[in-house]
C-alpha cells in the first residue's frame, strides 16, 4: 500500500508514558503554533466519556490531536465525524478490509460490529470562541476490555488483532491516521460538513434500523433515519421525528 506522507505543519510527539493524552495536550496547548498529535505508549489515567475508565494496555493506540479551531462551538463539535472517518480510513488502509469497518453515531468505529475504538473530544471555549479542541482517540489494536466490564447493553469490545489476526503497531496507525485526519479536516474547513456527512452515512451501521438513544434519564427508541446538517442523530420515534444532539446510542 502506498502510505500517505505525514501532514505538513502538524507536530508529532511520541511519548512513552503519560497520565492522559488529552490532559497532556491541554497542558501543551498554550505553547503550540499549529496542530499536534500526541501519542503515548501507555496512559496511566486514561479516561473515557463521562469519566469512564478506558483500558489501554501497551500495544493499544492512545493519542490526542490538538487543534485551535476558529468556528463556533457547535461547528467545532462536527470534528467528531472527521475523527471517526479518519480512523476508519486508516484502519481500512492498514488492513485492506473496507467492509469490516462501520460507524456508530457520532464517532464510534466498529469492527465486525464490535467496539474497536473510543473517541472523546474536549473543547475549552470562552463565549462563542473555542480556545482549543483535543481529539482523544483510543484503539484496541491488540487487546479489548473484558466484555464483563463494559456497561450492560454496550457493544461487544473487540480488538483489531482478535478480529483480524493482524498486528498493527501504534506508530503505524498514527502515521496512517494523521494524514487521513488532515484530509477530512481540509474537506471540512473548505467544503463544510456535507462531504463528511455523506461519507459518514455511507459507512453508518444500522441505518434504517431500530436503535435506542439515551440522553441523561431519557431513553428513546426509534428508527435511525439519518444524521442532519447539524450532525444531530435523527430518529423516527412513536412520538414523531426527533433530532438529538447528545446521546449514547445502543443497538
Amino acid at each position: 500500500m502506498s502510505a500517505e506522507p505525514w501532514p505538513e505543519g502538524v507536530a508529532r510527539h511520541v511519548l512513552d508514558t503519560v497520565d492522559s493524552t488529552n490532559a497532556f495536550a491541554a497542558r501543551l496547548a498554550p505553547d503550540l503554533s499549529g496542530p499536534a498529535w500526541i501519542m503515548a505508549g501507555l496512559q496511566t489515567a486514561a479516561r473515557g466519556r463521562r469519566g469512564r475508565a478506558w483500558s489501554s494496555p501497551r500495544g493499544n493506540f492512545s493519542a490526542t490531536l490538538i487543534l485551535r479551531p476558529t468556528e463556533r462551538p457547535e461547528i467545532v463539535a462536527l470534528r467528531s465525524f472527521a475523527a471517526a472517518l479518519a480512523l476508519r480510513d486508516a484502519c481500512v488502509a492498514l488492513t485492506g478490509l473496507p467492509d469490516s469497518f462501520t460507524l456508530k453515531w457520532p464517532n464510534d468505529v466498529l469492527l465486525n460490529g464490535g467496539k474497536l475504538a473510543g473517541i472523546l473530544l474536549e473543547s475549552l471555549g470562552q463565549g462563542a470562541q473555542v480556545q482549543h479542541l483535543a481529539i482523544g482517540i483510543g484503539v484496541n489494536l491488540i487487546a479489548a476490555p473484558d466484555p464483563a466490564l463494559v456497561e450492560p447493553g454496550a457493544l461487544r469490545p473487540v480488538s483489531l488483532l482478535g478480529e483480524t489476526g493482524l498486528r498493527i503497531t501504534p506508530t503505524a496507525l498514527l502515521d496512517a491516521l494523521a494524514p487521513a485526519y488532515a484530509r477530512w479536516e481540509q474537506a471540512f474547513t473548505t467544503q463544510g460538513f456535507a462531504p463528511l456527512r455523506n461519507a459518514w452515512l455511507a459507512h453508518a451501521a444500522r441505518l434504517g434500523e431500530p436503535i435506542r438513544a439515551r440522553t441523561g434519564q431519557t431513553t428513546r427508541d426509534g428508527i435511525f433515519e439519518t444524521v442532519d446538517a447539524t450532525g444531530a442523530l435523527v430518529m423516527m420515534t412513536a412520538e414523531g421525528r426527533v433530532a438529538i444532539p447528545a446521546a449514547e446510542v445502543f443497538f
Partner: protein, 160 residues
C-alpha cells in the same frame, strides 16, 4: 448595533430559523455580544404543531421576532437569560454539572469562581465543551440540572 452589521444580523437570524426547523426545536433565543453596549438578542419561535406524521413535508411556520438590543426588551423581566450575570449556552447539547456521574460538581451556588474556571460541560456529538466563567464572581444561581438538554443561548448560571 452599527448599521453595517444589519445585513449580517439578518443572515444570522435566517440561520437560526433554519436551525429551528432542522432540530425540531420550538424556540431559540440567542444573545450575541459584539462589544460593550453593542449586542443583538434574537428569539425565534415556531408554532408548536410540528409533531405530526408528516413532519418532513410540513414546512414549519417560523415567526422571526428580532430587533436590535434596544427594541428586544423581553415581555418577562425576570427571564434569567436577560440577567446581566447570565452565562448562556453556546450550543445545543446536554449539560453536565460534574466531570463524571457521582463526582463533586464543578461549582455550587455560593461558590467563588475565577475567570476561566470551568462551570460545567455541554456535550454535543461526544464533544465535551468546557464552559468557563466569563468573569470572576460568585455563583448566584444554577439554572440547569445535571443531564438537562439545553438550547442555544439557554441561561446556565448567574454569576455576579
Amino acid at each position: 448595533m452599527s448599521k453595517q452589521s444589519t445585513e449580517a444580523d439578518v443572515a444570522f437570524i435566517q440561520a437560526l430559523a433554519e436551525l429551528l426547523n432542522k432540530n425540531e426545536l420550538t424556540e431559540l433565543s440567542v444573545k450575541r455580544e459584539y462589544a460593550e453596549d453593542d449586542s443583538l438578542e434574537v428569539r425565534v419561535v415556531k408554532q408548536a404543531n410540528i409533531v405530526t406524521t408528516s413532519v418532513a413535508a410540513a414546512p414549519a411556520v417560523v415567526t422571526t421576532a428580532s430587533a436590535p438590543a434596544a427594541a428586544a426588551v423581553p415581555a418577562v423581566n425576570d427571564d434569567p437569560a436577560q440577567h446581566p450575570g447570565a452565562v448562556t449556552s453556546p450550543m445545543v447539547g446536554t449539560a453536565y454539572l460534574a466531570a463524571e456521574p457521582g463526582s463533586t460538581p464543578f461549582v455550587s451556588v455560593g461558590a467563588t469562581v475565577s475567570e476561566g474556571q470551568t462551570l460545567m460541560i455541554i456535550e454535543a456529538m461526544k464533544t465535551m465543551n468546557h464552559i468557563p466563567a466569563p468573569r470572576a464572581g460568585t455563583v448566584k444561581r444554577i439554572l440547569v440540572a445535571d443531564g438537562n438538554a439545553v438550547e442555544y443561548g439557554a441561561p446556565l448560571m448567574i454569576i455576579e
